[in-house]
């Protein structure tokens, strides 16, 4: 057993060295595919973080009439919170509204002097749960408050609606692009591995002839595939690091108000993902490509 394992690894390394042109072809294919995958994943993460932030910020304000009782206010609160899609409803009193307004307007003090009393209404700030940030939820909220006499106006619907729609579309576009890239990458990688194995079909034929079991033939190829996958992922990581410093960070310097980088931990997760995908595709691709050489 130990001997066999030593054999598998030795064979994998030897054949890796001996067929280095084929190995190089497979590795560069893996590297380019994984780089594209990682690149788009990072772009998708950046945008997703952006939209996620906006979505979390996006809230709907339910403005209340001025002359309502505490009981009426509580009733509105209960109605809003009874909707399952609602994450939170924060009560903003008239005083709080004024305070916030003053903070926002602190650069133009003259404007505040003109205010007499407090013209701002009290309101509820409604946030929806993740996954329920869509038009249907807004419609539900509207419907449940339609007949409520304490409610003056519901503000922020159209903007929020549009934002939700754009976020959904953007998300699907990214998912589609990434899925296509995974598929294209896998096809390319499997082809590259198949070429490498095709170059060694005679060896496989002889192994079968002298009675090597199928797994005995497979293991070195699988190990070699994983090695190619990891080396490809390593190269892809280097390319991503370059892209990160040359592209993303530069964009961020040029457009300062737009965060266009990912955190180090996110980057590490992406890299980890690339190594996992690389290893799996390397092993899976080898097994897949070997299939037709191991028949009979």
């Amino acid at each position: 057993m130990i001997n066999s394992i030593a054999y598998y690894f030795r064979e994998a390394f030897v054949s890796f060295k001996r067929n280095w042109i084929m190995s190089l072809a497979a590795i560069s294919t893996v590297a380019i595919s994984l780089f594209m995958l990682g690149f788009f994943t990072i772009v998708a993460l950046i945008f997703s973080a952006k939209f996620g932030g906006l979505e979390a910020e996006a809230n709907i304000n339910v403005y209340l009439k001025d002359d309502i009782s505490v009981a009426q206010t509580n009733a509105v609160n209960r109605t809003i919170k009874s909707i399952p899609e609602v994450q939170s409803a924060t009560y903003i009193s008239k005083a709080e509204a004024l305070r916030r307004f003053k903070v926002r307007m602190k650069d133009s003090p003259g404007l505040l002097d003109a205010l007499s009393g407090n013209p701002l209404p009290a309101s509820f700030e409604v946030k929806f749960k993740t996954g329920d940030q869509n038009s249907a939820s807004i419609d539900k909220l509207k419907a449940s408050l339609k007949t409520n006499k304490a409610v003056d106006e519901i503000i922020g619907q159209e903007v929020v609606r549009r934002l939700f729609a754009i976020a959904t579309i953007a998300r699907w576009i990214f998912i589609t692009i990434i899925a296509l890239m995974v598929f294209a990458g896998m096809t390319l990688i499997i082809n590259a591995i198949r070429l490498a194995i095709y170059a060694r079909r005679k060896e496989i034929e002889i192994m079968r002839l002298v009675g090597a079991s199928n797994w005995f033939i497979r293991w070195p190829f699988v190990i070699e595939g994983i090695m190619s996958g990891f080396l490809g992922a390593l190269a892809a990581t280097l390319l991503l690091l370059i892209a990160n410093s040359q592209l993303f960070q530069r964009i961020e310097t040029m457009v300062p108000f737009m965060a266009f980088t990912v955190s180090t931990s996110t980057f590490l997760y992406v890299v980890l993902g690339l190594f996992t995908v690389g290893g799996i595709i390397g092993a899976g691709g080898s097994l897949f490509a070997l299939r037709r050489f191991l028949k009979i």
Partner: protein, 226 residues
């Protein structure tokens, strides 16, 4: 050792390669399988190796019905049948020694344990001094000796050769026949498929003649033709 009952093989497309073949080969026999190209010799050999499944009939090797052998057990069948082919099937990037030790390695025997075994078999085939050569550095006859050494290194009960001398001159051929004879005398059942008349006639061994997929003659101490 080998028993074939009603073995028929029809290739996709309808070509009948073996037609109701019945054949018994005892342990320790030396059998020539003769017949013109296309008579079904190679098909028969490939059926014995379970490279092909017969359309009908059963084949027993060492008492085992190989038709009922699962695909995953085929390697174990092949460890019992050493094979020699016309095109030698040597790996060009391995030395003579490595080509032979490879056969033991892939059935799970570690290198350090097989050194004597490999050297002995290479001496047996007369290549004791050329173990470190590469296949392109030796002659065709020597390459076939390497391939015989590889087939025999594991001391299988059966040695199958499919046109082993097809590419070789008569003198080299005679040398190889003597080698097959020596291996046969060690107790191995030897089956040689060939259309080399001179070789068959000079050996005076059992001859099974195939024609259009049928056994037309089975003769002890026979000759190639009438």
């Amino acid at each position: 050792m080998i028993k074939m009952r009603g073995v028929t093989k029809t290739y996709p497309g309808g070509h009948l390669a073996l037609d109701n073949v019945n054949l018994d080969i005892e342990k320790g026999e030396f059998v020539f399988l003769v017949g013109p190209s296309g008579s079904g010799k190679s098909t028969l050999v490939r059926c014995l190796l379970k490279e092909l499944e017969p359309t009908a009939g059963t084949i027993f090797v060492a008492g085992r019905d190989i038709g009922r052998l699962s695909q995953s057990k085929v390697p174990y069948l092949r460890r019992n049948i050493g094979c020699v082919f016309q095109d030698f099937k040597l790996l060009p990037n391995k030395t003579v020694y490595e080509n032979v030790s490879f056969a033991l390695e892939v059935i799970g025997k570690p290198r350090y344990m097989t050194k004597n075994q490999v050297e002995d078999v290479l001496k047996l085939v007369g290549l004791g001094t050329k173990m470190d050569r590469y296949p392109n550095e030796i002659s065709g006859g020597e390459m076939q000796r390497v391939s015989i050494a590889r087939a025999f290194v594991n001391h299988p009960p059966i040695l199958l050769a499919d046109e082993p001398t097809g590419n070789l001159d008569p003198v080299t051929t005679m040398g190889l026949m003597k080698l097959f004879n020596r291996i046969n005398r060690l107790g191995t059942t030897v089956v040689v498929a060939t259309h080399d008349k001179e070789m068959v006639d000079s050996m005076r061994k059992r001859v099974v003649a195939l024609e259009a997929g049928r056994v037309v003659r089975d003769q002890a101490r026979g000759v190639y033709g009438h």
